[in-house]
């Protein structure tokens, strides 16, 4: 993202935000509520067009492209809320995740389905259930699984641990770690600073629509100001 | 010629009233009244039937206004808990059912025979030959009164509230005001004006039957409001004027264009209304007029 000014109805929330994620690495964006993390995500993913600035995916300038076009280029996204098709079955959610994006050279649906269900074994038995009837944690898993179906090269996650119990959040981040290890580039916005930065290579602190600090994750975690303000002195 | 002018101006007055009513309901209040002709027709029938029964015309007019206001309130109440979409179909249904009942319940409404011999208010006051002019004066007076009242309403705190419920109902609720109550009231006031318009219709023609009323009236009212500018009362009156004159003027086309009969002309006119509605909504959603703001808003906005 390069010098992005973005917001709603003409009111900018992001004021000249620039950062980049290197291929295969994990970047976590942290910051207080209202700092613009959601806006950042929406702009990155194509749900919001920036007022000015550019968004680049690899070499390509995707600023003017909408979400479907970006998805076709290997970008997958899991929103924080409303991240599944409630009225469709789990299997259908996974089908939809796959069929509109998967390139011709990608592995078949069956192969991908197995691979993704290996990451989330708990939903294997729930394939026929209506997605909206699952528990919060399971829904989150379905959402991520659906995003992973087409073997994306970049995965954007908006507050993956939101609404999850601490145990489930840890399990989820463990899966996130495995996905990262398989070479997927990850952009994560996370409220749980400790967990988020723990899984990251790099961290970005977003405050009031501006980047306060961008550094390797360990540095961000160790920064005394950040620790005091956002980690509650932990 | 003057006779023709007087007749046309009277039509303008009635159309203006219908337009002003819709402007209140839809322009200011965001409430879609697809059954407008039904309320107008009800006003005409209440006034007509009561007058024919012997009630003084002005009293009948008052009853018509009350009756239509009440029915409007009821129809708003049915759907007002839901989104505005539902009001549209409820009013449409009301109108169609009303038309059915009026057509078939002859014992009450004289059915297809119609109600004739409807006396006008103040009929005896005018000297011979001046009856139509006198009625026109009455109609124009009605428009003037309604216009003044609506302008005052638009500038009042209540007007602000109504516009707020149109634009930001969530905010209004958060402030503790009942969106439902506001909507019902707005719809009822609009209904009263429609009742007035319908009554004037009955008095003017002195004879009414169900075939005089149809969705055409609804279409023209919407056209007037869209052209005149949603919320702008002045604009609505001006566009009612223009519309009626265009309507009347287009009658001459029948003589000019060969093969063009009255029904074809009617179809062309309505086609243009339909297309005009869409085109205006796309390109000029605020019409050609301006919405009256409250005096306070004018003062604060001039500071910027």
């Amino acid at each position: 993202m390069c010098d992005v000014v973005a917001g709603y109805g003409g009111h900018p929330i992001l004021h000249g935000v620039s950062f980049s994620v290197r291929a295969g690495e994990t970047l976590v964006v942290v910051g207080p509520n209202g700092s613009g993390k959601s806006t950042l995500m929406k702009t990155a993913v194509g749900l919001l067009r920036p007022i000015s600035g550019q968004v680049l995916l690899g070499e390509a300038n995707v600023t003017t492209l909408g979400a479907p076009a970006r998805a076709a280029r290997g970008l997958a996204y899991v929103p924080q809320e409303a991240n599944i098709f409630r009225n469709m079955s789990v299997l259908e959610n996974l089908q939809v995740g796959y069929e509109f994006v998967a390139s011709r050279s990608a592995p078949s649906f069956g192969v991908r389905l197995d691979a993704v269900l290996d990451l989330f074994p708990e939903i294997r038995v729930k394939l026929r259930s209506t997605a909206g009837h699952l528990s919060g944690g399971q829904r989150q898993m379905v959402a991520m699984a659906a995003a992973l179906m087409p073997e994306p090269s970049v995965l954007a996650l908006d507050e993956p641990s939101a609404g999850l119990s601490p145990r489930n959040a840890e399990i989820l981040f463990e899966v996130i770690g495995r996905v990262a290890a398989s070479g997927v580039t990850l952009l994560i916005v996370e409220q749980n600073t400790r967990l988020g930065l723990g899984a990251a290579d790099h961290g970005v602190v977003l405050v009031g629509g501006r980047i306060r600090l961008a550094a390797p994750a360990a540095e961000v975690l160790a920064d005394p100001d950040i620790r005091r303000l956002y980690l509650g002195g932990v | 010629m003057t006779v023709y002018l007087i007749a046309t101006l009277t039509l303008v007055a009635m159309a203006a009233l219908a337009g002003l009513a819709l402007n209140l309901q839809w322009g200011m209040g965001g409430l879609v009244n697809f059954g407008l002709f039904g309320f107008y027709m009800l006003g005409a029938y209440i006034a007509g039937l009561l007058t024919v029964q012997g009630l003084p015309p002005l009293v009948a007019l008052g009853m018509a206004m009350l009756g239509v206001a009440a029915l409007s309130a009821v129809s708003a109440l049915i759907s007002v808990r839901l989104s505005e979409d539902y009001l549209a179909i409820v009013t449409l249904g009301f109108a169609e059912c009303l038309r059915l009942v009026i057509s078939y319940e002859g014992w009450l409404t004289r059915g297809m025979l119609g109600v004739s011999g409807i006396e006008r208010p103040f009929q005896a006051w005018w000297p011979r030959g001046w009856g139509d002019t006198g009625f026109l004066l009455l109609a124009l007076l009605a428009v003037l009164i309604v216009y003044t009242v609506l302008q005052a309403l638009a500038r009042s705190p209540f007007g602000r509230l109504v516009r707020a419920t149109r634009d930001d109902p969530g905010v209004v609720e958060a402030l503790g005001k009942s969106v439902l109550a506001v909507r019902v009231r707005v719809f009822a006031i609009g209904g009263a004006i429609l009742g007035l318009a319908g009554s004037l219709h009955a008095f003017y023609y002195s004879y009414i039957d169900p075939t005089q009323f149809g969705p055409i009236i609804t279409a023209y009212a919407f056209m007037a409001v869209v052209v005149g500018g949603r919320g702008s009362n002045r604009g609505v009156v001006a566009s009612a004027f223009t519309l009626i004159f265009l309507l009347e003027g287009s009658r001459f086309l029948i003589d000019l264009v060969p093969g063009l009969g009255a029904s074809e002309l009617a179809a062309i006119r309505l086609f243009l209304v339909g297309v005009g509605l869409v085109v205006l909504l796309i390109f000029k959603p605020d019409g050609f007029g301006r919405e009256p703001r409250s005096a306070l808003a004018d003062k604060t906005s001039s500071r910027f």
């Binding site: 993913v45 098709f85 | 169609e96």
Partner: protein, 286 residues
């Protein structure tokens, strides 16, 4: 009694296709298309041109008419509705009414007001015991059930169906999962256009082909769709059947010309008591 039920089912089936079309466009586009009645009339007249003026057998005229009107429906959306997509509130409603008025009067201009009928071979009604079924009714039965089956299969099992359901469920998420909204919108209008044309033909078979045929169906179609739960396309069919049967049963106590009143009473009751329909899921009222 059996006859009433059969008539009710036929009446309901007549409503089912336009109600389905209405629910379909509502679920994907989130606005109530008041032009659906005029679409029905338009489709009926297009087929009339094919059948009576061009001499095609009815099934051929109907297919051609459906295909043609499907494209017209997409065109209307592109011209009239698309520019208004982002305006909030009730603008689209009024626009759809404008479209309805325009369409109906195009018909009136060219075809006049007198009722017409399709060119179909005359046949004697069939009897099954106590119940009389004429050929038009049988055609309606077969055609609607076939159309419904096709739509259901598309909806449930195909990629296109998943596309439509996804956009109806969560448009932002659908975009993110790679679904192009404008594509889905076009498909929806194609299907809705075909359904309304077909229903126009059937209504024309059952009664007459006249300019206001669609307008008189507006209230029942909306009621049927609301009865099923307006965003739930397949449930609209159930709503239509229920309404059709209710209307017929009501003729036991009410004169026939008051069908509309029954429909209206059902609608009012529904809105007051169960606005999410018989089969919809409960949502919050304001």
């Amino acid at each position: 009694m059996g006859q009433l039920l059969v008539n009710g089912i036929v009446a309901g089936l007549l409503l089912a296709l336009p109600a389905l079309a209405l629910s379909l466009t509502f679920s994907v586009l989130r606005f109530a298309n008041y032009a659906v009645g005029s679409y029905l009339s338009c489709g009926a007249y297009l087929v009339y041109i094919g059948n009576v003026l061009l001499g095609m057998p009815l099934w051929l005229a109907a297919s051609a008419g459906a295909a043609l009107f499907a494209v017209i429906a997409v065109g209307i959306d592109w011209l009239a509705y698309r520019p208004l997509r982002n305006r909030g509130g009730v603008t689209l409603l009024v626009a759809s009414m404008g479209v309805a008025i325009a369409l109906e009067n195009v018909i009136r201009f060219f075809a006049g007001n007198s009722p017409r009928a399709y060119n179909v071979p005359v046949a004697r009604p069939m009897r099954f015991g106590d119940i009389r079924l004429n050929h038009e009714q049988l055609t309606i039965l077969v055609a609607v059930i076939a159309a419904l089956a096709v739509v259901w299969i598309i909806f449930r099992f195909t990629r296109l169906g998943r596309m439509m359901r996804a956009v109806a469920d969560n448009p932002d998420l659908a975009a993110v999962r790679g679904i192009s909204r404008s594509r889905v919108v076009a498909y929806v209008w194609l299907i809705a256009g075909m359904l309304t044309t077909l229903s126009g033909v059937l209504v024309g078979l059952d009664a007459n082909v006249e300019p206001q045929m669609g307008w008189t169906y507006l209230l029942p179609v909306f009621t049927a769709a609301i009865l099923g739960g307006i965003a739930n396309p397949m449930a609209a069919v159930a709503g239509a059947l229920t309404l059709g049967i209710a209307e017929e049963l009501a003729t036991l106590v009410m004169p026939v010309h008051y069908r509309m009143i029954v429909t209206f009473l059902v609608m009012v009751a529904l809105l007051l008591v169960r606005p999410w329909g018989l089969f919809g899921t409960r949502w919050v009222t304001k």
